[in-house]
Amino acid sequence: MIGYIGKRIFWSLVIVLGILTLTFIIIHLAPGDPASIYIRPEIDAKTVATIRRQMGLEKPLLQQYIIWLKEFTTGNFGISFSHKRAVSSVIGEATWNTLQLTVIVFVFQLIVGVCLGMYAAIRHNTRSDQSINSLLLFFYSLPGFWLALMLISLFSLKLGWLPSGQMKSIILTGGIVQQVFDRIKHLILPAFILSLPFIAITTRFVRGSLLDVLGQDYIRTARAYGLPRNKILFLYALKNALLPLVTLLGLYLPFLLGGSVIIENVFAWPGMGRVTVNAIFAHDFPLILATNFIAALTIVIGNLISDILYFYVDPRIRMGGIG
């Protein structure tokens, strides 16, 4: 068991190192002096020289690489030009904001997806199953940013029910209850839109694995012993069908982060995605590299967690059958 988890952790570290290396390579492949990546054009030559020395750009490439690795892994990402403060503090805030959005999306899509999937499985090969399937295909084909614009123009601009962006109202009075309520109002549209494709995937997954489990022998046996149909569904099948869901966490993370980049930008949600895109336009390279790294790290850790969860959930791997 330790061996399995140890192997996974080791592998995650390798990936992180690979990502760092690749980033380093990309920086050095980019046109121009790597220093120009870190330095704004308007700064005078003398300062440039100092920064170059500080960055160790005179040293051999290998040494630069090692220094860079050390700085990066200890969380010293440098100073953000556009925010004029330490990258780590910018990122800290943004990560927290993104986390609020993504966690809610994850939970919401899980609830809706599991319910829909169960319903579709119970009613499989009927009209309602087919309509759910078509609906999912439709969800999956929607460009989120466009849907966001359409819903904003309806619910925010026309009807004025929901805010069109940001995390909180500019003038906000009242206590914690009002604040929470305000946050929820800001979350509804982005969270709903970001959930749609995931609802589609989860529903399909739950439906598929439920039908798989339902087709298996022990469910038939249980049915033969006279357990009522619904009870069988919930007692046996559900447990076995839902356990593999934990692996989806790892699968979802890259998509979730990618999706949030887009949605955050439409809704001016001050999370990682928005910070990154703004950084791109500001040519704020320390910030770009750092967000890139954090995103990669998140995905790697997410995969690691889902692997470990899966390990506890699936007796086959625990016994060392498949690895």
């Binding site: 990936i15 084909s141 460009p143 940013f145 466009w146 982060l257 980049v261 895109v277 995905i299």
Partner: protein, 289 residues
């Protein structure tokens, strides 16, 4: 990709396939729509009297409602939106199709080599694939786009190198199961060279899952490209794609809803069509999820 699966039985012939595919009504309708769209975007110059990037009279021709003169209205520069949507569609479709072609080729080669050689080659290649899968594609794209000036070529390359992995996995699994099949042994037994066996017997029989996944991938790529262009880190002006046109309409959602709404509708219809074609292909090839 999520919807694709592996072939149970690799029997698939043109004749039988057409017989089956003809029964898939929604897929057929979608296919005709895509073909029509392809023709319309390619020959857009002959369909409208306007040019996508020529500005109109900034006083009289800004933000005109859809009318018989401008089917889809005009934007803030008085440009005809109909011709812009067709032009943007050409760019979007070209990019998406090129990406899929490239990604599938990379995935095909990668999967074939890994599956065919097996052993240590396979193990190393699959490890690298896992690594690549763990890489957050959109962030990589954003980093590169930030460093280099984005152009369609870079965009195509970037999107391709971040989306070949599922194909590689599918192909590898197919090749792995095919290479121990008796008909492959039989071909080897005849004295045909390894390369020929791979190209003549293994490759054609491992293509089915790729066929099925191709339309789905095109849809995915249209969505991704339009999102990037919408954010301003994809297709750059003066070029336009559906995503960047939607961005043009972002600030005038109420005054000129058509600027954002219409290209978006085109995205939805196109992606939906590709997905339904994919479903139809899967049904007619008898591939289970």
């Amino acid at each position: 990709m999520m919807w694709a699966g592996r072939t149970k039985e690799t029997v698939f012939f043109k004749r039988r396939f057409w017989r089956q595919f003809k029964k898939q009504k929604p897929a057929l309708i979608c296919l005709s729509f895509i073909l029509l769209l392809g023709i319309a975007t390619t020959f857009s110059a002959y369909l409208t009297g306007y040019q996508p990037d020529v500005q109109g009279n900034l006083v009289t021709e800004r933000y005109q409602k859809p009318s018989l003169q401008h089917y889809f209205g005009t934007d803030k520069f008085g440009r005809d939106l109909f011709s812009r949507v067709l032009y943007g569609g050409r760019i979007s479709l070209t990019i998406a199709l090129s990406v899929v072609l490239l990604a599938l080729s990379i995935g095909l080669m990668y999967g074939m080599i890994a599956g065919y050689y097996g052993g240590i080659v396979d193990a190393v290649m699959m490890r690298f694939l896992d690594f690549w899968l763990a890489f957050p594609a959109i962030f990589l794209i954003m980093t590169v786009v930030a460093l280099f000036r984005p152009n369609p070529f870079i965009l195509i390359v970037l999107l391709s190198v971040t989306s070949w992995m599922e194909t590689a996995r599918l192909v590898r699994a197919e090749v792995l199961s095919l290479k121990s099949r008796e008909f492959v042994l039989a071909a080897k037994g005849l004295g045909i060279s390894d390369m020929q066996v791979l190209l003549k017997h293994i490759l054609p029989n491992s293509l089915n899952p790729i066929f099925v996944s191709a339309p789905l991938k095109v849809g995915e790529m249209i969505l991704l490209e339009s999102a990037l262009s919408f954010l301003g880190i994809g297709v750059q002006p003066p070029m336009a794609s559906w995503g960047s046109i939607i961005n043009d309409g972002r600030d005038v959602l109420l005054q000129a809803w058509w600027v954002a709404a219409i290209p978006g509708l085109f995205i939805v219809l196109t992606v939906l069509s590709f997905n339904l074609i994919g479903e139809g292909l899967r049904e007619s090839m008898g591939i289970r999820k």
